[in-house]
């Protein structure tokens, strides 16, 4: 059902964990629906210096979380905001159609974390 790449990221997810002093945090999904993910980011010179995630969900939810962190690390905030669900799925060698929507939320979580960072920065001014 899943591509080899999805299974590889599911078995060996990159960047799992939390960042206690994160610059931004984004959470999307709902455990009632079966998927919940939180992204933590550290920002340095307008770039994503570190990303960590925690995910409750199916294999696709875990693999897309992992892939998103891999795609976004080192990118500028502007570049990272342009990463789409489709980019994540493509880099994983595709996802089953039914998983494209419900379990492919990691890019959204990342965008939420970046927005959270920007909001915090604004309020500090």
């Amino acid at each position: 059902m899943y591509s080899e790449k999805v299974m590889e990221h599911f078995m060996h997810p990159r960047n799992v964990g939390e960042i206690p002093d994160a610059d931004g945090v984004g959470t999307v999904g709902n455990p009632v629906c079966g998927d919940l993910m939180t992204m933590y980011i550290k920002v340095k010179d307008d770039k994503l210096a570190d990303i960590k995630f925690k995910t409750f969900g199916c294999g696709a939810a875990i693999a897309t979380s992992s892939m998103t962190t891999e795609l976004a690390t080192g990118k500028t905030l502007e570049e990272a905001m342009k990463i789409t669900r489709a980019d994540v799925a493509k880099n994983l060698g595709g996802l089953p159609p039914i998983k494209m929507h419900c379990s492919n939320l990691a890019a959204d979580a990342l965008h939420e974390a970046i927005k959270d960072y920007k909001k915090k920065k604004e309020s500090k001014k």
């Binding site: 995910t55 939810a61 998983k99």
Partner: protein, 386 residues
Amino acid sequence: MDNGAGMPLDSRVFEAMKPYFFEDYGNPSSSHSFGNSARNAIAASREKVAQLVAAEKPQEVIFTSGGTESNNLAIKGVAYRNREKGNHIITTAIEHISVINICKFLQKQGFEVSYVPVDKQGVVDLEKLEAAINDRTILISVMYANGEIGTIQPIREIGKVAHENQVYFHVDAVAAAGKVPINVKEENIDLLSISSNDMYGPKGVGALYIKKGTKVQPIIQGGGQERGLRSGTENIPGIVGMGKAAEIAKRKMEAEGKRLTRLRNKLIKGVLDKIDYSFLNGHPTERLPSNANLRFSYIEGESLILGLDMYGVQVSSGSACTSKTLEPSHVLLAIGLAHEEAHGSLVFTMGKQNSEEDVDYVLEVLPDVVKRLRALSPLTPKEIVR
């Protein structure tokens, strides 16, 4: 350990079926000797299936294309034939999807259906069931055992209530037949659905027991085979295979039931002992010998399935993510689980190919799979990630 999804054909069953593809390919409706041989084969199978459920007469067994058709014939057949008596049907919240969808279909045609709730262990509430009966009630349909949570229903008592109220009693025994002893007479059953492939028989064949005198209207019209109740040329190899499967199941039931019960109990106890925040779904004792349904807090079922699959263990889940509808199992919701609890449930269905070593192996690898997924989950409380 996913025998609930499909069971392998018993090689003895296949051997019994073989001659009926090439040598004995007669049509039982023919008058010549080829037809005779087919007729005899069907009669012998009917006898074996009748014996499996302790039917009084073999003629009370009608062969169908499987459990779903048996449920259709039983429920629609009784509903259509007894409409002048009433239009009310009672069933439960945890029935197989075929029963639920048949009832929904009948509701669109003006029938009324009551879905009686079950308790936390999945047992039908007898008082509520009795209270749901009214003077228009024509049928009560309750499954013998639930294939997902394993719970076995108090069939005899439900049948007694049905008969005290002059209501027909249908039992979907697809998950139970061949695994636990069934006695249609003692358990007050009027109609009983059985499937062949849930007892190591071929797919595409099943049976419906219809007690003599029960008023049922056929749902398939045609050449009048199966006493007019199920037209269509008989699936002779399938029927022969089902007969053989029934014969073997009856012979092995007691010993295999004991063996599987022991394995099941070892699996359940082992998991509950080794893994914190794990729970058993369904009834602790009144359950199918083959079934263990276990729930793990903070993690999701499909990722558990994938994680176990990496170790070569195949199981299934009540999780929405493994279904086509993206809804968690209606059975798990009916026993009172929250959506997120239903998502984290695993179904182990053991069969004859499973040994104690398999159970030991699951108990060896499962704690690590659970631990790894909990470490990934934002729902896991910090104190239990170790």
